[in-house]
């Protein structure tokens, strides 16, 4: 059973296989709001995910994989830019909701797709974008040559409307209509793409909206119609939020449909004879949301406790990485960016240095794992992981010290997440030196980020009680 203390194993047998001479294909699959224990191979006893479980056994399953943020759009920004989301204005949103020229990934910013395209890759995105809106932003403007998907943070699976109730399905930058369950639509497009001949390596970004709300399984078009009709009524929240719907049984359907879609894409890859030389990555954009099982972690999407950022992370690359590997090395979203750029034979832009660390030599040559600090920040929390320790700065009123209500204040906490992924035993009193070191490291990185505006413009916040926005922990 996976937990925070999985035995360290060498993730591969690099000396025997070595780095290949031609750049590999890349199939990067991103789930939306999928929680830590929502897959069979991560401990779910109720949700069946045979395709992802098999993918894990054919490669490396990371037990300390992390999202770049506890919110969805900042993690996506960290994936494409390879940098901390707080370096971009758009990365401060929790998540991105303002449709303005200030909120997106600028077209002149080097990105994973633009850099790989520059190195000769064919690039395609299928599914959710959520990194800025037209007419200012789209996947095609940061290096994806093909795009079929949605721009907003959520979409009705059948009606294909966004959180404002507007149609949100695009082919490139052109609105299109196509009937069907969204999970299936993008799976089929991705399957078609990976099976085709592109005259060189491809990089496919397959971004499911599953299992994000609304809570609709493949057989629920009626739920979609009901939700869409609610936009015409007086409804307190966006109907897509679907606060009166869903269940654990429905959530299971959403995850299982995604797993089935992934199975079809992997089958297409195998049918085209490309499984061996394709790096397949599967991960989630943040910790699980309300129906997710994040056990044994505390918190969920939006929290910097492990429940908000620890995610399933699977990497398969049969040509290089031996099967049946489990690694507890801490890896974060932007590390994958750095790794894929290096393995693609490309270089990051020197004016936009990556915050992620490439794992390429570790993966392909048996080099030591590149230990490095992992850093996160939201408007009311901060975290830094170094080795087994995690520093957590917390000014939320929600207690993390057990069930006890706590006084408002700034809390500086320290956990050994290799034995206490549940973050219940605060070791700051036992290791004040470690706390101080990690806090200093956090503050140094925090100082490099854009400050949160005084009135944070994201989701409704309890700003009257949480005090000024975070810039320094004191």
């Amino acid at each position: 059973m996976p937990n925070g203390s999985t035995t360290i194993r060498r993730a591969f047998d690099g000396l025997e296989r070595g780095r290949p001479t031609t750049p590999p294909n890349v199939l990067f699959i991103l789930a939306d709001d999928l929680g830590w224990a929502d897959l069979g191979c991560y401990g779910s006893t109720t949700i069946r995910t045979p395709n992802l479980d098999r993918l894990a056994t054919e490669g490396i399953r990371f037990t300390h994989g992390y999202a770049g943020s506890s919110w969805c759009s900042p993690t996506r920004i960290s994936l494409y830019t390879g940098r901390f989301p707080g370096r971009l204005q758009a990365g401060l949103e929790e998540p991105l909701t303002r449709r303005t020229a200030e909120n997106g990934i600028p077209a002149d910013h080097p990105t994973l797709p633009s850099i790989l395209a520059g190195a000769g890759y064919r690039t395609a995105m299928f599914g959710k974008w959520h990194c800025g809106w037209l007419p200012w932003y789209s996947p095609l403007r940061i290096g994806f040559q093909t795009f079929f998907g949605n721009l907003d943070g959520a979409m009705d699976y059948f009606e294909h409307v966004d959180t404002l109730g507007q149609p949100d399905l695009y082919e490139g930058e052109t609105p299109v209509e196509q009937a069907g369950y969204y999970t299936d639509l993008i799976s089929d497009r991705a399957a078609e793409y990976v099976a085709a001949d592109h005259g060189g390596p491809f990089y496919v970004q397959l971004n499911y909206t599953a299992p994000h709300w609304p809570w609709e399984g493949p057989g629920d078009p009626e739920t979609g119609r009901k939700i869409r009709s609610r936009y015409e009524q007086d409804w307190t929240h966006s109907p897509l939020l679907h606060l009166d719907g869903g269940s654990l049984a429905k959530y299971r359907e959403l995850v299982e449909a995604m797993d089935a879609g992934i199975g079809r894409v992997l089958d297409a890859l195998a049918g085209a004879g490309r499984s061996d030389d394709t790096i397949v990555v599967f991960t989630s954009d943040n910790g699980g949301e309300r129906w997710s099982r994040n056990w044994p972690f505390v918190g969920e999407k939006g929290d910097l406790t492990e429940g908000g950022i620890r995610v399933p992370l699977i990497l398969r690359w049969p040509a290089v990485v031996a099967a049946n590997q489990v690694s507890d090395r801490p890896v974060i979203t932007m590390d994958l960016t750095a790794t894929l750029i290096e393995l693609g034979g490309a270089e990051p832009h020197e004016d936009w240095p990556l915050d992620g660390v490439s794992l390429a030599s570790w993966l392909t040559e048996g080099a030591e794992f590149p230990e490095h600090d992992l850093f996160w920040r939201t408007s009311n929390q901060g975290a830094l992981r170094r080795g087994r320790f995690k520093y957590l700065f917390d000014r939320r009123e929600r207690a993390v010290l057990g069930n006890w209500p706590r006084e408002p204040g700034d809390y500086h906490l320290l956990y050994d997440v290799t034995v206490d992924g549940r973050e219940r035993a605060d070791l700051s009193g036992q290791h004040p030196d470690v706390l101080a070191e990690l806090r200093t490291a956090w503050e140094r990185l925090n100082a490099e980020q854009l400050p949160f505006p005084p009135e944070h413009p994201g989701l409704p916040r309890r700003s009257s009680t949480t005090g000024p926005a975070v810039s320094e922990p004191d």
Copy 2:
């Protein structure tokens, strides 16, 4: 796998067996802060509880068992008095910490032990009391004839000091010293008691402090010494709270030691030939605390979401109740009081009518299950369950609608906990009539309770932000 939608099964075969003519013995075992999924028979995949699992297979396992409160001392008050804890000043504390003449179960209050003692039972309590302090209160003053245990809400397992660092082990009302792990000490005393001849039926109340903090397994006397020595230092919280200790592995030891102790008591019962005519009840005083697994529920100890009040509940009575039964009938602590009084051949006092409903006829005669409303109240939440629906009144700032921060306010929520024990799909908009009915019923019962004082004197509270104490939901 247990969840909120277990199939309804008739819990027994009453017509074949019928009510016995002599009063049964009663062994009531109460765990402390044990969560919903912390036993093997309730879904734990890591904690081994063979004795409790076997107890469940030999009787009824309730899947909708509830604690009388989400805090420990109020639930204990509801157990002994058979009434809502809010009918007593001491029941307003969350939990009881003030050692005054005003905070306890008064000696003139009829109780389960005093009523059973009046009907000829020998009564004994082993373990945790937490219903008031000497010189005003003790188990001996409400009808227990024998007492060996501790008075406070928590005790060091080895040092036997309470939350103030004071020795807290008593024989009757006399302080005593006895070396040993507390779980073992009270198990052995209970085993001895149930094996002895008392010349009539007995009622044993066996109240573990396990798996309540501090986090000490049977092999951790050194942790106890360290905790005790901290009382002499400058330490922000009571060292017993043990905020820098514990782990899931340690928590497992605490639960497994309790299970082993229960095994010895049940063996002693069997050895004395009394298994058949003894009602054994096992339950917990509230939902799980920080290391507990409450899946699939939301919240923990202190919350009126299911994670704070849904608890394991097992009843074995071989003479009457067939083995291998599972029931999803909603049962709450004070129902057990009413049931045991009736099965003991006694009557509740007419001036203190019970709030619990006796299940005796359902258990012994095949009568219809006595459907009734379940009611809870804390200083910032209220709840009422009727049939499949649960009304939840919530003025906490902690979000229950997913991960979204929410504006301060009074929330009136409605869940179908038979299909959504996770309480994520708020049905108040779909069933406004049901919401109104349940809310009215809650308000009627709330009006019968003592009001919370304006400055609630319990644990540290965020009173500056939570507004005035609850008296009415509006």
